[in-house]
């Protein structure tokens, strides 16, 4: 082999996905698969064939996610350990939440969500401090807080899942069944999407902007909790008792989260573009270039659109089983269609007419309001078949 051949081989090996996997990656995959197998064996009696399929796919998906985004491994392990701690502290039933130190102050579903809330708000403030103070260190702290908040949010959901079964085996269900629970999910998914792009684009300047919407979600969550006792675990109405919920709701919230991210990047875009037009070289120039923001906005809407399409279709299939028709023009369904058409129009304008710049950023922000109405407004103002979370 001559030197060219060696160099070629070297390049090819370097880039190879499989050869790039470290021993830790392999340990990771084995641990996840063992965990999945354990859950399968332990709980197979409680699952139907679809739910088993979902469990196995989640396991496999998590392995790949951990391989391609290494930070997910740390997150998963932290969530796993803390959740196990939480679950294992419940010995005498739910009342332990009031007496056990760990549950009360750290890892009961409720406490973990409180930690999540506090950390997201703190992270928002810290991101802005980092942004205005141009402080790298503060930025790192803010990232760490966001990661921690996300961890606690996931722990909260996991432990809550268990808690629902402690109420009664027939009450137990995955915690994505009402507004309170999906607000937690929304915060977590939006944060994760942001964290992914934070690493990808190597900038923390957008953190404050994105976390602003998460803080707003947290504010709603807290109001909902204190004013309406929404955190109480309620049994499911018959129509919601289906494996479809496990895929429809998360897919929907990847969509909502991505649309929220796009809107906040759109906001940053407007700030930066306005500053550039004025020729100012103030703090706004610490934001990424317009090209980058535009690209990120597009990617985010594309991701949201893809998942929203998936979620809406899954919803239609579910409706076909639960309500007797795949489409009933129920307000929630109809608003999902409106959201979808809106972003379809956005994508067409960008791709086929080449629209760029401020109008598209503004449209992305308007899109969030449309989304928000579909997500909340419908429950508040319109009545329909969707039975979860009446305000």
């Amino acid at each position: 082999m001559n030197s060219t051949q060696t160099a070629l081989q070297f390049e090819i090996d370097k880039q190879s996905f499989w050869k790039g996997l470290t021993p830790f990656d392999w340990v990771w995959s084995i641990v996840v698969m063992l965990g999945t197998a354990y859950a399968y064996v332990m709980y197979q009696d409680l699952m139907d064939v679809y739910e088993k399929g979902i469990l196995v796919s989640t396991g496999v998906g998590l392995v790949f996610l951990g391989w391609s985004w290494k930070a997910m491994r740390g997150l998963s392990i932290a969530v796993f350990l803390l959740s196990i701690l939480g679950i294992s502290r419940y010995v005498n039933g739910l009342s332990d939440a009031d007496t056990d130190f760990f549950l009360r102050f750290l890892v009961s579903g409720q406490s973990a969500v409180m930690w999540m809330s506090a950390l997201y708000v703190l992270a928002t403030v810290t991101y802005f401090i980092a942004f205005f103070g141009r402080s790298d260190f503060a930025g790192k702290v803010a990232s760490a807080m966001t990661w921690s908040a996300t961890t606690m949010g996931l722990v909260g959901l996991m432990v809550r899942w268990r808690e629902s079964y402690l109420i009664g085996i027939d009450v137990g269900h995955i915690p994505v069944s009402n507004l309170y629970e999906v607000f937690i999910l929304f915060s977590i998914i939006t944060a994760l999407l942001y964290l992914f792009y934070e690493r990808r684009y190597q900038t923390r300047a957008l953190g404050g902007f994105v976390l602003l919407i998460i803080s707003a979600a947290v504010a709603f969550l807290l109001w909902y909790m204190f004013d309406r006792q929404a955190d109480e675990i309620q049994p499911l109405v018959p129509a919601l008792k289906s494996y479809w919920m496990k895929i429809h709701v998360p897919a929907n919230f990847v969509g909502y989260g991505a649309f929220a991210l796009a809107a906040m990047v759109g906001t940053a875009f407007l700030v930066r573009a306005t500053a550039d037009e004025r020729g100012s070289n103030g703090i706004a120039t610490a934001l990424p270039d317009l090209d980058v923001l535009d690209d990120l906005m597009y990617k985010s809407i594309a991701l949201g659109f893809a998942f929203f399409t998936l979620a809406t279709i899954l919803g239609a299939l579910w409706a076909a089983e639960a309500w007797g028709g795949y489409w009933s023009w129920d307000p929630k369904e109809t608003w999902a269609l409106i959201v979808w058409l809106n972003y379809a129009a956005w994508l067409h304008m960008r791709l086929t007419k080449g629209w760029r710049g401020k109008p598209m950023a503004a449209w992305a922000i308007i899109g969030l309001f449309v989304t928000l109405f579909a997500f909340l407004g419908v429950n508040m103002f319109l009545s329909g078949l969707h039975s979860y979370g009446e305000l």
Binding site: T4, A7, L8, E11, I12, Q15, G168, D170, V171, P235, V237, P238, A239, K241, S242, W244, D291, V292, D295, A302, L303, F305, A306, T309, L310, I313, A316, L317, A320, E321, A322, W323, G324, G325, Y326, W327, W329, P331, T334, W335, L337, I338, L341, N342, A344, A345, H348, M349, L351, T352, K353, V378, L382, S383
Partner: protein
Amino acid sequence: MTNQPTTSIARGAKTSALLVRFLGSMNLAITLLVALSIAAIIGTVLQQNQPYTDYVIKFGPFWFELFQQLGLYDVYSSGWFLFILFFLVVSTSTCIYRNAPNMLREMREYRENSTLETLKNYPNTYSWSLNSTHVEVLDVTQKLFQHNGYSARIKEGDGHTLVSGMKGAGSRLGYVLTHLAIVLVCIGGLIDGNAILKARELLGQITTETRNLPADEVPGISRLGVENMSFRGSVSIPESRESDVLFINYKDGYLVQELPFSVEVKDFRIEHYLSGQPKSFESDLVIHDDRLAEPLQQTISVNYPLIYDGYSIYQASFSDGGSELELLAWPLSGSGTAQKKLETKVGDDLQLNLFNESWVLETSNFRLFNINPSDDPSKKFKNAGPSVQFKMRDKTGEAKEFLNYMVPVEREGQLYYLSGVRSSPAEEFKYLYVPVDDAGGIDRFMNYLHALNDKTLLMDLAAKQNVTGSSLPSQDSAKFNEAMVRLVGVFLKSGMNGVIEQVGKNVPTDKREDVTKLYVRVIQQMLGAVYLDVLAKEGVDVSLGVDEKKAAFFDAASAAISSIDRYGSPVYFQLTSFVHHQASGLQIAKAPGKNLVYPGCAMLILGVFLMFYAPQKRMWAWFETTEDGIKLLLSGHAVRDNMDFSAEYQQLQAQFGRILSP
């Protein structure tokens, strides 16, 4: 003259080209998307398919008429909405017709004929002068292209070699899939929607039925035969009964849809959570069909429908299936009238001639359980037992609605029968608390009430009282006794409040307090005397007074009697026994359009992901041998995704650079 045909052909070609351009234009597409969204917003803001009377009340006759003309009460099957959908189908189809051939060609094209000029003009271009061999460069190019996911074609040109690489052809396919999917879903949706029904209505083949008729009396013009391809309707079938029709709500009425088989509900079961919310409901169905060797049995529940012969049968709801009830009607006024036994069924209207008045008793619902939050901290919930809901309509057509519980509930240590009443569904129920006696019945209460209505008895008892404490002349005392009895009468008619009101009207202010006190005392005393008399007649020994329980009963009974006028019904109905029958609410649908919609959905998902995540990218390596060795040009081009593509290009460029050092 000779060239006229050609011009008209040319003109025709030109018009159709224009039409295609218009129909396939992005502006039209966006306009349609926006129009569809606006229609959808209207459809959600204005509640659809409500009874027309509700709309009249809401909007007034003028706007009601206008909105009805615009089809706003059923937007999604209105003509203009279907028109927009139709146009979207046409527009998208045109768009596919125009773009798909290009897209599919591009998928397969490697652009092997690109000139050096073109390649140099791409933003991602770089060139090297190398002292490698032709073979080496070709080999490296092929391997690197392949390794980075580009499939490649090699073309030997005039003194040069061009390796053309491409990946992400899927995005082009994605475009076709996505847009084709839209067309399929819309067409399928139109088939399954109300469009066909609407057309038949316009042709005068059907009209809706608005009267409340038994299914078999609905005339043919409002019936849809078994040949109807697509519908969605519902029917409520009591246990152990069957139905071979269903009802489709349409506009301000309904249509009857016939089935080629009949569905029997053998059994309906409902399970509850501890909190009383329904946990699951399911029906054991039997399908009777001549085409079947034997009836088909299957249990369905929410989320688990039965698909039979292209018909999907869903568990949708439940209701009472005509429970048989036995009621005792107790008169609340007059004396000595005995209670009367009645038998009725939920859903029936019973003509009544009770205690000299005629009414209709419309029994609307029976519930086996009523689970409410408990005030007892050790238990979260308590079951208030069966209840019956009915309306009593008098001759004038006015109705009061009642909600009566069968088993007594406890309140502050005393058991009561509860009966709620209201004059309109918008109101909350106001409750009458009828106390339960020692024997667990309501006889004592009724005896007491009737005794209070018995003038002779009252006169008798009044004479035995010595209220003023002084010995009045007998004439005066007779007057006073009459006054006492009258007072009791006022109390019976309008309660203690009525008595106080009367004092307010007839007595000067300065004496009001004294008189009120006196009246209250008199009434108390009379009530006490009547009560003791009732007890004595029951055979209770009252010579030493009454025990605490009987005293408490007296207070409760007197309070109940005081509130009878608010209760507003001359009768109290006691639910004494029942036979519970449930009905299962089924939804039956035939939706052949889903054979287009479902594949369309799969194509849509696949197409969208392909379009976003397999963007088309191209790389070219152009090299030729010159006197100074090899000259290599690497160019890249992608329609979209420019930032990512530049990064990818640079990575490839760097790899070339590192491997083939100049």
